[in-house]
Amino acid sequence: MKGIARGFLPSRPNRVLVLGSGPLQIGQAGEFDYSGSQALKALQQEGVFTVLINPNLATVQSGEDLADRVYSLPLTPHFVEQVIVQEQVDAILLGFGGQTALNCGLALEAQGILERHRVRVLGTPLSTIRITEDRQLFIDSLAAIGVQCARSRAVTHPEDALAAARQLGLPVILRAGFALGGQGSAMVREEAALAPAVERAFQSATQVLVEESLEGWKELEYEVVRDAEDNCVVVCTLENVDPLGIHTGESMVVAPCQTLSDHDHQLLRNLALRTIRHLGVVGECNIQFALDPRSDAYRVIEVNARLSRSSALASKATGYPLAFVAAKIALGYALPQIANAVTRSTTAFFEPALDYVVCKIPRWDFDKFEGARPQLGPEMKSVGEVMAIGRSFPEALQKALRMLEIGVDGLDPEAYPFPDPAAVEEALVRPTPRRPFALARALRDGMGVARLAELTGIDPFFLHEMERVVQLHSSLRRGELEALSAGRMRELKRAGFSDRGLGRALGAEEAVVRQRRLALGVVPGLAQIDTLAAEFPAQTHYLYLSYAAEGNDVVPLGPAARRVLVLGSGCYRIGSSVEFDWCAVQAVAAARELGLQTVLLNCNPETVSTDYDVCDNLVFDEISLETVLALQQALPFQGVIVSMGGQTPNNLALKLERAGVPVLGTTPEAIDSAENRSKFGALCDSLGIDQPRWTEVRSLEDLPRTVENLGGFPVLVRPSYVLSGAAMRVAHSDAELRDYLARATELSPEHPVVVSRFERHAREIEFDAVADQGEIVHWAICEHLEYAGVHSGDATLVLPPHGLYLDTVNRVRRIAARLAQALRVTGPFNLQLLSRHHEVKVIEANVRASRSFPFVSKVLGTNFIREATRRILGGPPGTEPGANPLELDFYAVKAPMFSFRRLAGVDPVLRVEMSSTGEGTGFGWTAEEALLKAMLSTGFRLPTRGVLLSLGPVGDKYRFTEEARELVRQGLRLYATLGTAEILHAEGLPVVAVDKEGQDSRLKDATALLRSGAVDLVINIPRDYGEAGRPDGFRIRRAAIDLDIPLLTDLRLARKVVWALGRCPPQALEARAWTDYRGRRPR
């Protein structure tokens, strides 16, 4: 930073509005919490007043310490305008909240809102954004400077799309404009698939690009930063291992690019700079290229003129804080005026040099959705990703595969039992999440690299590297361990084999492998990511482990007692996402408040916790026993906190303790008594705590007796040590039960599976608390608006629990106190309970932070995680406790966000296994107001035309008549499927009957009705929570999802929504900062 004068900054804004990305959904996940948080930090540093709108309270950015004012409101022009006026905002940032913020910005402009209130758009101008989002404008713009795009036609009518496709000739790819994560995009290879694909594409977009298919070309992404003075750098290059045709978000990706020569790289780099300068991006953007593997031919695929999933990955891969720098640029800084955050002695005007290789792999959760097709293509379906760092591709690749936590030890040819070579070939040609293992299998079975490259389009370079791993794997012999030389051990470890994986192949315990390895002197080095490949010393401790690194780049400061290790959440997946990242960030902050040095271990590039300025030592690596033991040597710590990162660290507790690593807080033994469903059941019995009747299943022989003892079907199958109800099913028959039991034991073979009585029409209660040596010190209680049977992660939660008797609340508290005592809990814990009339039964206890901790902490004003961490570390309590959950004078509701639209063919019905991908929170003076705001923030829209009712169970049909009357009173037209219509008709309600299955020619088909646009809310209550086949009404539910019509499937919630609609007209939904609700009286 020598000789740089602080340059001239153009008129600096006073009050800046930042739009967040809202609830997490497929295609748009935690990465925007990271980019938004960085932007807020950058603005804060400049003393700019910041206002944030983000209804996702599970994020770090929505906390009280980053933005000056935070609104938990839907990201719609209606609410944003109110905030603009109220906060007297004079500038807005649109690039930090993903597609949601960008599209909201375009809408604000189109409605004249920005102009009306004189709000300046900082950073990349809206005119540029429009060009990059409109596929046709984009192609025209690039043509003007001679930069090539694929042959294509942008169309706005389905007929034109068909014509364009025929003119271009199949195969073609359909690409939706203004869309998120390739929503609606599809590769069309044969004529028969064309019309349906066109229809689907137009369901999510008004503009579709029909384009020649470049399947098989290399796909590369360049992350470019440009300042207003036209200084421009390419911060990171990313190479997709999966070639064009598979969305970058669905691809295995490496950084930096590995198969490009300098000639290739400079070609693309020059194109990137030329394009970005021409478009006039100010800040950060991502440009995607296709490169012909046989020549210098290239095409530009697209430019994202905003922070993106890839930019978060690039930031983590390089140590270059793209979002932070982009925010500074938006304020008028030039790159050379911004410090390099890692070296602190150089500037942000440079291109990082990497002395390692990074591998990213997405994680999919297809198993969670009945009926999902696990096919990968140009549309995003993954729910999370991991990033691994190594000194070779094999090391990074194998680490990344383990980080996914899908039960593999690396690139194992045996990972999946492909029945025959044909199945392997199928998995190669039609990619699914299993493709890496199909590759391994094919390589092992002698299908050469050349043939594989032909089948998959994957560059032979990567295949050769994989082949080396497979060869090493095949060379391992049982019983070989004792004979293993140091050289061979080193070779294996450098190729990314874990101790556990080696143990499995060699027939030895992980601990034995480890001993042998240590005896041979093979240990990993702790290396630093410093952005300049060691050319300059780094001031930050951003670290990873590699067996190719000799020695450690950093030395521990001070004794172990001064340091604590916090385990992060790992990969995001259904059931575990940004909420646990919030917890990890809070835990680290609390430890730092106590004067301790923190070490944070995580492997998820989408997180804030992996921002290196959050903790003292960030270790970006696998969350495993092997890593923790290595860290214990390299950065000795007093102990490890396992209760903040959700299920992943929690599951390590016992193993860590057995290996001699002190686990802080609640003892691993106590954790086990809660996680192990059988032990927990026994514990409750001994404490006299009521539970739904349950039994552990040891053999399949006396199943009928077991079911009889539980009171008959339906029963619930529940494996232990799982999150989000994985493999949990309601069985209605003997056959179902056997099937589900088999699946459950496959998922969690080391732990017991229990079967419980399924309680119908019960309320579900969520109890979150912090305890200190068994004494509860903070607590919160939420009520579910759905009946039990909808997984707590998919449920709508309300705080305070206005529907519970005081007596019920007291019972819950007594049960919690008894359990906390019995388990001597120190730290966070969570209980889930059922109540019916005055009975309260416990379903489960999680002796760790739960999904609802950020929600209750923010609503009550007590940071449960910071308090829990202080107790775990033996520190004094922190701030004054906030509100008592029963004395709140406002309401907060947390509603689930689903991503069913992306998962064609999946039944969007709620079950005991979780399927939501995110959450949104609403506040209000009434529960109704809070409910509607929460739902609006998750994509719900207020109905204005008509409602289609299809209420399965007869009882429900009657139970809904008052609500139906209310809908009519609200001026909505009622449509109903035949049975429902008859009952409502008998009640004297005007209702149009439609046909459910489209077979009765006398009635209008329900899906045709939906397509006609007459209906803007569908209430469909499936006949049962059964899953044998599909509960009826699937056609209606699926059509509602595909047509983006709000859908409710739980009777209790539907009733609440109807009354809320009546009592809270849109103008009554107030825009108010969420912190303003606390401690204030209603107006």
Partner: protein, 354 residues
């Protein structure tokens, strides 16, 4: 095979190049692409090159273009070598090429740890050898660094006809081919003369002079500096210096040069144009620099390194002399400063008209 350093360090790796024992100055480059260009860059003559990006050899070796007719480095040290390359332009593997050119190389070395050591202790002598003793280091074959003449090819004057009517004398001290390509592709007729050739005779026939890059300490070329002062500067001819050429221009104009602790060798060196305040990323490979405090009046700093503040370019306030420490011809590295060639040729053209 071992990498033996003069401070006694011995790192063992696997050989993937020629079986020869060589000695040289150990330098590191943080460039992530461009091993083909780097290995043939004459500025690396006599040095053992350490690459910090661990994966090398991935895209093999093409049939050309190269930066000179042979591999120049004395030896190569990498972390992970990929024998199975993949690229449409590749004709052989990196290892095959190294063996064919009798250049030794090792992989399996932690090049990051090695780089840290070089950063901390400054550039060291080292050897690639099977031995481990100080004697082994001395026994290994080195290149006498004063004989830069060796790297200058061809050994006589070559004329490259251009179309623009401008002609330039390129005084070759170990030029990268791309400097010549950059000038020639812009239309200049080039007279490429080895620096030890009596090129003074050609000065009447050309419109300007280009001083190129090359290996070693510029002060070892004192006779050349003297000839430049008397022959070129005294006539007030347009001069453009690149890298070593920049240092030679500075010396000839009366400034000093000095040795950097571990040099600049990378693709990401940020420099700032002092006139426009614009910043550029540049490709660099040098171990010596011009001492800014020693600049004579009227020779002004043009570019400054944003990382460490060292001088990166000079311009004379009224004479047509320009020079840059970095490589505007790139190959390998970013091509963001290619406009410097345009600028120089424009200046030469204008002066000719005048």
């Amino acid at each position: 095979m071992n990498l033996l350093l003069s401070d006694g360090t011995c790192l063992t790796g696997e050989s993937f190049g020629a079986q020869r024992e060589v000695r040289g100055e150990v330098v590191f480059s943080t460039a992530m692409t461009g091993y083909v260009e780097a290995l043939t860059d004459p500025s690396y003559r006599g040095q053992l090159l350490v690459l910090t990006q661990p994966l090398q050899g991935n895209y093999g070796v093409p049939s050309g273009p190269f930066e000179s007719v042979r591999i120049q480095v004395q030896g190569l040290v990498v972390s992970h070598y990929s024998p199975n390359f993949s690229h449409h332009a590749a004709v052989r593997s990196l290892g095959d090429w190294l063996r064919a050119e009798r250049v030794p190389a090792i992989c399996g070395v932690d090049t990051r740890a090695l780089t840290r050591r070089l950063r901390e202790s400054g550039t060291l002598e080292g050897a690639l050898t099977e031995g481990r003793s100080p004697q082994a280091l001395r026994d290994a074959e080195g290149v006498p660094m004063r004989q830069v003449a060796e790297v200058v090819t061809p050994g006589e004057v070559v004329r490259l006809e251009g179309g623009s009517g401008l002609s330039l004398l390129v005084i070759d001290t170990g030029a990268k081919e791309n400097i010549l390509r950059a000038l020639h592709s812009r239309g200049a007729t080039l007279w490429r003369a080895p620096f030890h050739h009596p090129w003074e005779r050609l000065l009447d026939r050309v419109d300007g002079v280009v001083l190129t890059n090359g290996p070693g300490d510029p002060r070892d070329l004192a006779p050349l500096v003297e000839r430049l002062r008397a022959g070129v500067l005294a006539r007030g001819m347009p001069v453009f210096g690149v890298c070593l050429g920049h240092q030679l221009l500075a010396l000839a104009a009366g400034a000093e040069t000095y040795r950097l602790p571990y040099g600049h060798r990378s693709h990401n060196q940020p420099v700032m144009d002092q006139l426009t305040r614009r910043a550029y990323l540049t490709s660099q490979n040098h171990g010596y620099a011009v001492r800014e405090s020693s600049l004579p009046a009227d020779l002004e700093p043009w570019f400054v390194n944003l990382n460490d503040g060292t001088n990166e370019g000079l311009r004379h306030s009224y004479r047509p002399w320009r020079s840059v420490q970095f490589h505007p011809e790139a190959a390998s590295g970013p091509q963001d400063t290619g406009w410097l060639f345009d600028g120089f040729l424009r200046m030469v053209g204008e002066l000719r008209q005048a």
